[in-house]
């Protein structure tokens, strides 16, 4: 809304009626109609939107009115330039900016893509009705003008969908990043013992993050034993196993023991079928078993004999 006064300031002498006279000189009927009947168009358009696509649960009347008025104003100025075909032209910068803001806002508000595009498409009805009355000459000229108006609005509608989709993709990309961070927590279980509960499919990018996070935490905590729990990993293929082995080797190079736990029966079978060699790696069925082993190792390393648990006695 801050845009309109600014533009007025740039061209103070030109009001809607002046634009209309200018448009009559330029002789494009769309421009004529937009300039002469802007207020009526707006009323009819809003009435149309209210009966078809309006979502009172998502957007307030006043907000919708403001958006529609701003869009019509910028569209009128763009059409005045005589260009009614190419919406990528600089003349349409204002229109695209209004629609871009609107689409992004609506994608966040929870509108569907069609509802967002219908904001533009619903202008067709009132605009066509006005054009039919305003266009001079025979049916041919009316059809030409209609086609031009249709083409223009279609492009603008598609533009809203594009922006809508782009902002959704941005959301997805950000969530993926968040997930990457969230899904690799390294927790300290005990003095000298850290655990990495892995959840989700392991691909190269994630494993790299996992590996770096784990090794960094080993340095920070001075842990002697690191437990990698893969209970939450749905499938293990050769690549995943390779990544796991690399992590274990790297941890060993730094002086920490690695235990892999949470290998489910099916995954154990898969690993054997794939011929992955895990003989150098300590593996345990559950995190509890791994932790018990880790206690033994930490105790032995510190020279403290570990009190035997009843289960093991």
């Amino acid at each position: 809304m801050a845009r309109t006064p600014e533009r007025r300031a740039q061209r103070p002498v030109r009001d809607a009626r002046a634009d209309a006279r200018h448009a009559r000189d330029a002789q494009h009927p769309i421009a004529t109609v937009l300039a002469e009947h802007e207020a009526e168009l707006l009323t009819e358009w809003l009435a149309g939107q209210r009966s078809t696509v309006r979502r009172p649960d998502l957007i307030r009347d006043s907000e919708l009115n403001a958006q529609a008025a701003e869009f019509l104003a910028t569209l009128r100025q763009a059409v005045m330039t005589g260009n009614v075909r190419d919406v990528q032209a600089p003349a349409y910068d204002g229109v695209r900016s209004v629609l871009g803001t609107l689409s992004r806002a609506r994608s966040l508000q929870g509108f569907t893509p069609s509802e967002t595009a219908m904001f533009v498409f619903s202008l067709k009805g009132p605009l066509y009705a006005r054009l039919r009355r305003a266009v001079p000459g025979g049916p041919d000229q009316v059809i030409d003008t209609m086609a031009a108006a249709g083409h223009l609005l279609d492009q603008l509608g598609l533009y809203t969908v594009e922006v809508y989709q782009r902002s959704r993709e941005e959301v997805i990309a950000r969530q993926q990043e968040d997930m990457m961070e969230l899904s690799t927590p390294v927790v300290k279980l005990w003095d000298g013992i850290v655990a990495l509960p892995m959840i989700g499919t392991l691909d190269s990018a994630r494993t790299q993050v996992v590996m770096e996070t784990l090794l960094q935490r080993i340095v920070e905590t001075g842990a002697e034993v690191a437990i990698i729990d893969i209970t939450g990993v749905p499938t293990v293929d050769t690549l995943t196993a390779q990544h796991l082995l690399k992590t274990v080797t790297a941890a060993r190079l730094m002086g920490a023991d690695c235990i892999i736990s949470g290998i489910r029966p099916q995954i154990a079978q898969t690993i054997v079928h794939l011929g992955v060699d895990l003989t150098d790696v300590t593996t345990k069925a559950t995190l509890a078993d791994a932790l018990r082993l880790a206690f033994t190792r930490v105790g032995a390393a510190n020279g403290v004999p570990l009190r035997q648990t009843p289960a093991r006695a």
């Binding site: 590996m211 090794l215 080993i218 340095v219 001075g222 730094m254 002086g255």
Partner: protein, 134 residues
């Protein structure tokens, strides 16, 4: 050590009881690594040291040659009846060595010098540990 020589020509080897302590505080080049290996082998033979501790916590850049050199030092020392422990490897260095396919199977590792010394003492106290578990 030379005063005005600029780059370090050799890495000092300290004797602590029956252990030798090497702290690498510069990024190793091939010549330096080769010199270190020669010096270390000679020193192990001369002192009859039972353990060698190499601290690489300040090393940030490694290549396959350095990786192999660590492996060779460990193997040579074992021939001379000394256990080698590499301590303080940085995460980035560990990842690099793994990506290079060097798992340093013959080298023992520890997180820091303290743990390394403990590991050496334990290895000396129970030399039969690896071969006879019970």
């Amino acid at each position: 050590m030379t005063a005005g020589g600029g780059a370090m020509e050799r890495i000092p080897i300290l004797q602590m009881g029956e252990f030798l302590l090497v702290t690498i505080q510069v990024d190793l080049n091939d010549t330096l690594a080769q010199t270190l290996m020669d010096d270390l082998t000679a020193k192990v033979a001369a002192t009859g040291a039972r353990g060698v501790l190499i601290d690489i916590s300040s090393v940030t850049v490694v290549d396959s040659f350095i990786g192999r050199m660590l492996n060779d030092i460990a193997a040579t020392s074992r021939v001379l009846d000394a256990t080698t422990v590499v301590v303080g490897m940085q995460p980035a260095v560990a990842i690099t060595l793994v990506e290079l396919g060097l798992s340093l199977g013959g080298v023992r590792t520890a997180l820091n010098v303290d743990r390394g010394i403990a590991l050496l003492r334990a290895a000396l106290a129970a030399p039969a540990d690896a071969t006879h578990p019970e």
